[in-house]
């Protein structure tokens, strides 16, 4: 049994608490996380998979495997990529239903609202929405089958 969305969020909150609210350290840490995000399959970096912000661009693809959702993502900016990597870490391997119902309270706890605030620039909010839309589509498929 993999960790729950709540458990992973707790882990992230723990990790970020070590940064002591220092904004520069936080930004550097987020970028480091982005560098560790598994490379996205180039073939999936299509225009259809773009979630566009004003300044940065995110590619997002998803698949359903053994009833769980797996995301692949990339971004042309290092900070957005780091933020995206957090979401991928939380959602990967979860059921569509769990993703749909997820309350992403960690964002507020780690001060990520600072970045969400510039959603017009980085398209981050649009990305969360897109991940939930994928989950909804997979869930609908599952419901039809059963």
């Amino acid at each position: 049994m993999s960790k729950s969305i709540t458990d992973i969020q707790q882990e992230i909150i723990q990790e970020f608490s070590l940064l002591d609210g220092d904004m520069e350290m936080t930004v550097f840490y987020i970028m480091e996380l982005g560098q560790k995000l598994p490379a996205m399959n180039e073939a999936n970096k299509t225009e259809d998979n773009v979630v566009k912000g004003c300044q940065s661009k995110v590619w997002l693809a998803a698949k359903l495997e053994n009833d769980n959702v797996y995301f692949e993502a990339d971004s042309n900016t290092a900070i957005t990529k780091g933020l995206v990597s957090l979401l991928v870490r939380i959602f990967n391997g979860q059921s569509p239903e769990a993703i749909l119902n997820a309350d992403l309270s960690f964002m507020q706890k780690i001060g990520m609202e600072r970045f969400i605030g510039t959603q017009r620039s980085n398209g981050f909010a649009a990305m969360i929405k897109q991940m939930k839309l994928y989950a909804l589509a997979f869930k609908t498929k599952q419901d039809v089958k059963s």
Partner: protein, 412 residues
């Protein structure tokens, strides 16, 4: 550019007049280098707003009571100051608008309606802000006129030779900026105006980036329209000036209808008020216009030459220092520039640079700066832009360079 100019500005004393500068952002002293977007406000401007609303708020021009009289006087005082500030021939040539964007839209709509015909040509430049592009596209679409564009050279200067090939008897209007918001290029507007006039075209100058930095003499320039935004001149947001030659504006139809702009109204016929009120429909932005006057007085108290010299010194210093960093490319190296330093760092997205500088309390702007066609011409997605003002210091430039150095070391 040379570092020869030493300024005698008392920057510490000037900084004391700007309360917003004295704060920590993300744990560090704020370094505000986003002055080309909007600059900060001195106490005199802030206090003037409080004073107006606390002591003499009233609707102007029509009131006969004491407060209305006082408010009207203060409002018209700004018009007098603005007239002197740009050396207009008459206060009737000063129209209060929301800012440069509205000023250009006003001219495009009103002048366009009266004077632009099918097949006529309007010339803008490749350095323009969207607000000096889109209103002309409206006119061209509406009047079936043609929009032509002056090319930008690799160093960020306008190609005047190509401009000479564009201009003809078909040209009815030329609209260019005095200085570029994205690159800082100061354009040879006197030459452009003379060339346009030789072809009987009128000229509009977008002075948004000149207002707080360059001397402006509309009579010497002989431009037909000149536009300014208060908020880029230490004044409040939501107001600005359209200067227009009186004989021209008298021929132009009103832009908006309502109160203030009329002489008499009946359901059969309305007659319009005289300039400048013909173009000031509705209750104007009284408080901000009054405070804008204080901003003009602030600029006058220091002197534009001293301001320009100080900003130039910062620009030269920052440009020299940034060039010592690896992977940095300065974008826009015109011979004549206002205090705008646009750059990119190879392989690092401007958005990341902006966020990382902000984490150190340094405010810059990133992106296309509302000049998408220019970015495309220069082959960049966007830039990072640091823009300087009278209250900035070399020490702040050092903090900025140190921040960039850390970013490059971290990401490279």
């Amino acid at each position: 550019m040379s570092v020869a100019t030493r300024t005698s500005l008392d920057v510490e004393n000037i900084r004391k007049q700007f309360p917003v500068l004295h704060q920590k952002v993300n744990g560090r002293d704020l370094v505000y280098f986003d002055n080309a977007a909007t600059n900060q406000k001195p106490d005199a401007v802030i206090n003037s707003l409080v004073d107006y609303y606390s002591n003499y708020n009233a609707n102007i021009h029509r009131g006969i009571h004491t407060l209305a009289e006082k408010a009207t006087k203060a409002y018209e005082q700004t018009r007098a100051l603005a007239k002197e500030f740009i050396n207009a021939a008459s206060e009737q040539e000063i129209i209060f608008v929301r800012g440069v964007t509205e000023a250009i839209n006003l001219v495009a709509a009103s002048y366009g309606k009266a004077f632009i015909r099918e097949g006529d040509e309007i010339i803008i430049s490749g350095l323009e802000h969207h607000s000096n592009i889109v209103p002309w596209q409206f006119v061209c679409q509406d009047r079936k006129a043609v929009l032509k564009v002056i090319n930008v050279k690799d160093n960020g200067e306008l190609d005047l030779e190509q401009f000479k090939t564009l201009i003809s008897s078909k040209t009815k209007l030329v609209a260019v900026n005095h200085a570029s918001n994205s690159l800082g290029t100061i354009n040879p507007i006197k030459q452009i105006i003379d060339l346009a006039h030789a072809n009987h075209a009128v000229v509009l100058i977008d002075g948004a980036q000149a207002g707080a930095h360059l001397p402006i003499d509309v009579q010497a320039l002989n431009c037909d329209f000149y536009c300014l935004s208060s908020h880029k001149m230490f004044g409040p947001t939501g107001t600005g000036i359209l200067y227009g030659k009186k004989n021209l504006m008298e021929l132009m139809p009103p832009y908006q209808g309502g109160g203030e702009m009329i002489k008499s109204v009946s359901f059969e016929k309305t007659t319009y008020n005289d300039l400048p009120y013909k173009f000031e429909a509705g209750t104007p932005n009284i408080a901000d216009v009054i405070a804008f006057g204080k901003a003009i007085e602030f600029i006058n108290s220091i002197g534009k030459e001293a301001i320009a010299a100080h900003e130039h010194e910062l620009l030269v210093y920052a440009t020299e220092r940034i060039k010592t960093l690896p992977h940095v490319r300065v974008i826009g190296e015109a011979k004549e520039k206002v205090g705008v330093l646009s750059f990119s760092i190879d392989g690092i997205h401007p958005f990341d640079i902006g966020q990382m500088l902000d984490a150190r309390g340094i405010a810059v702007r990133t992106g296309h700066h509302c000049t998408e066609p220019l970015m495309e011409r220069l082959g960049v997605e966007g830039t990072v832009r640091a823009s300087f003002s009278v209250y900035n210091t070399k020490q702040e430039v050092d903090q900025f360079i140190e921040g960039l150095d850390r970013i490059i070391k971290f990401l490279k």
